[in-house]
């Protein structure tokens, strides 16, 4: 007779994910499409840079490296934002649809363990995608121009985005009974975070009062594309608008397509262009959002008495509280106070020449 049940040493959901994640053709199809997309991006950016050089622009080797790195990092972020929610949006609702949820709930497995197992399984797959892309990324090494600090920031942002957007899928999966509404809801949230701020930022100057104001940086704090474009943008050490340098009109935007995603991250001060480091707030926001959504999901996944306090809530409160405290203590690090747009600063009144008094 069963008298004692031990806690599983290894999360059973994770073991199952590890066994089944690469079964069937779908995971390989996603991997192939992803790598093809990266290779095409690399080729396209390189051709564009060569074309620029032929038209008389000064294109240094480091510019090609920076452009490639920027384009590849963006493509990787785009893919993560697109794939992570869909991979997790069936985590709980799929079990309900498959009629296995009751069987799981009858075991000592807790909904939190199910969510964690699913999330880690999906993150492992996304990590596989990132690792598989290293050979394509290594083309950047041929040209150089990328700092180690930037590389660390990009890895941090990609990892945090995978976690956050995966958790959005989990949250919707716990909230909705079926996978299709959960996937639709996940993509709606993704669109609200990724598309809408860019749209608002691009029309902000036309509707601001007085007109012509730059969009406030907080609008882009949770936008993964603004973050990745901002972190991979290289500020020129000396701004020389009179030099026929590549991208002279917009020294930050090496890849023209990406200028659509860079709205609001560059301000033009009298001393030259200034980069808005929105990625700092993005990183902290993603961490905070991940734990809040995980906490909500762990309650929503329960079949009954969903909002009864549990001991695990203390853990979530501690983590969320720690992140909130960190954000409060280091607010000057991530909250951006942008410079005033120079064209909105009232001009100094011109000195009026005073006629010398007539000599009597």
């Amino acid at each position: 007779m069963a008298t004692h049940i031990r806690r599983p040493l290894l999360n059973p959901i994770l073991v199952r994910e590890a066994r089944t994640r690469m079964r069937g053709f779908r995971p390989y199809l996603i991997l192939t499409v992803f790598l093809l997309l990266l290779i095409l991006s690399t080729f396209g950016i390189y051709q564009y840079m060569v074309f620029q050089a032929r038209t008389g622009m000064v294109v240094l080797s480091s510019h090609i490296g920076q452009a490639l790195f920027k384009g590849l990092a963006f493509t990787e972020m785009f893919f993560i934002v697109l794939v992570a929610p869909v991979l997790t949006s069936g985590a709980i609702s799929g079990e309900r649809e498959r009629l296995t949820y009751d069987m799981l709930l009858a075991t000592p497995l807790k909904p939190g363990q199910m969510l964690a197992g699913k999330l880690i399984g999906v993150l492992s797959y996304l990590l596989l995608l990132i690792v598989a892309s290293i050979p394509v990324f290594s083309t950047v090494l041929i040209f150089g121009g990328v700092e180690l600090r930037t590389l660390i920031w990009v890895v941090l942002l990609l990892g945090s985005a995978a976690l956050f957007f995966g958790t959005i899928g989990l949250f919707c999966s716990s909230l909705f009974g079926r996978t299709t509404p959960a996937t639709i809801a996940s993509y709606t949230i993704v669109l609200l975070l990724s598309g809408v701020p860019l749209l608002v930022a691009s029309i902000w100057p036309q509707f601001s009062n007085p007109m012509g104001q730059s969009p406030p940086p907080w609008l882009l704090y949770l936008n993964p594309f603004s973050a990745i474009v901002a972190v991979t943008t290289v500020t020129p050490t000396a701004f020389q608008p009179d030099m026929p340098f590549f991208g002279v009109n917009d020294p930050f935007m090496l890849v023209p397509f990406l200028s659509q995603f860079s709205v609001g991250i560059v301000r033009y001060a009298p001393e030259g262009p200034v980069l808005m480091p929105v990625y700092r707030a993005t990183l902290l926001g993603f961490w905070l959002g991940t734990f809040v959504l995980l906490w909500l999901s762990s309650h929503l996944a329960l079949p009954a008495r969903r909002w009864r306090p549990r001991w695990s809530d203390l853990g979530f409160v501690a983590v969320v509280g720690a992140i909130a405290l960190l954000m409060w203590v280091r607010i000057d690090w991530w909250w951006i106070v942008p410079p005033v747009d120079p064209w909105l600063v009232p001009m100094e009144p011109m000195p009026v020449p005073i006629d010398p008094a007539p000599v009597p």
Partner: protein, 320 residues
């Protein structure tokens, strides 16, 4: 002896209005197969889900092997197989059992041993490496039953285990249930295919509108059938049918006699009280002495199906 399952005034309401269980009192002895019968919506699944710790009752008490029901106690003591169960199509048979065994904290050599033993028990050792989706419905049913046994629970709750099975798979399932009973498990299974329960159960309970109508050992329940005992008679010559009907309808122990619709020479006799063998022989002798050529005479009890229909119809009328 401690009861395996005991519920005291178990009540459950959905959305505070719909009463699924109404002061249900259930007593299941250890080591027996208990059949839980009721029409759709009677409260069978709700009862089983409460016993499995998946649902909290609105009111009442549940004890498993004398222990107050808690979620942890249910997880430890109960193996549950839902009525509509799912399988992970992308898992192999052994991986499926391995997964559930891991959920109960099994690991290492013990884990492998349990998986092998269960595959042997449910006769799926030959399908060990097959994908679950390739199994027949009967095999999937047996695999699902095996998943409920990974932590060796003393109580098994099986919700409609025979639904959708072909006759051969049903026979195999019955054999498996008997084996499990012999291993000392208490099995509670719900079904609306009553003939199956009669063959495999030691005790039955009939539930309707959330209330227990009748419950007890199968023999005891069947004793109640005697109150409306019947007999079937077959007359050799068609011309004797009218005479036989006239004689029977005049008999003080017969409440009704009629010819069967499908066979005009077969008569169904309802007796007003339970008859013993001598009384049956006397009626037969009366018919033979009157010149009726009787080719068959068989005393017939109301079967479980008829009893179920009669009892649930009465409850329905009372509630209506």
């Amino acid at each position: 002896m401690t009861l395996a399952i005991e519920t005291i005034d178990l009540t459950h309401r959905y959305n505070k209005k719909l009463v699924a269980l109404d002061q249900l009192n259930l007593r299941v002895e250890q080591g027996c197969i208990y059949g839980f019968i009721g029409p759709n919506g009677a409260g069978k699944t709700t009862t089983l889900r409460i016993l499995a710790g998946l649902l909290s009752p609105t009111k009442g008490e549940v004890r498993l092997l004398g222990e107050q029901l808690t979620t942890r106690a249910a997880q430890r003591l109960v193996g549950y197989m839902p009525d509509f169960f799912g399988v992970y199509d992308d898992l192999r048979v052994w991986e499926y059992l391995d997964f559930f065994a891991r959920c109960y904290g099994l690991r290492g050599a013990r884990l492998r041993q349990v998986v092998d033993e269960l595959l042997d028990l449910v006769d799926l050792a030959g399908k060990r490496d097959a994908f679950v989706q390739t199994l027949s419905r009967g095999m999937q049913q047996r695999l699902c039953l095996a998943h409920a046994l990974v932590h060796n629970p003393p109580v098994l709750l099986l919700d409609e285990p025979a639904s959708g099975l072909d006759p051969r798979a049903r026979v195999e399932l019955r054999e498996l249930l008997r084996t499990l009973r012999d291993m000392g498990k208490t099995i509670m299974l719900s079904s609306h295919i009553l003939s199956e329960l009669a063959e495999v159960c030691d005790a039955i309970g009939i539930i309707d509108h959330g209330r227990m109508i009748i419950s007890g050992p199968l023999a005891e329940v069947q004793q109640q059938l005697a109150a409306s005992a019947r007999a079937r008679l077959r007359i050799a010559r068609e011309r004797d049918v009218v005479l036989a009907l006239a004689l029977l309808q005049r008999h003080p122990l017969v409440s009704a006699a009629s010819a069967a619709a499908a066979d005009p020479r077969a008569l169904i006799i309802d007796f007003s009280e339970a008859l013993n063998e001598e009384q049956c022989a006397a009626i037969l002798a009366e018919l033979v002495n009157a010149g009726v050529a009787v080719s068959e005479f068989s005393a017939r009890s109301e079967n479980l199906e008829e009893l179920f229909l009669r009892l649930t119809a009465n409850t329905g009328q009372a509630n209506g």
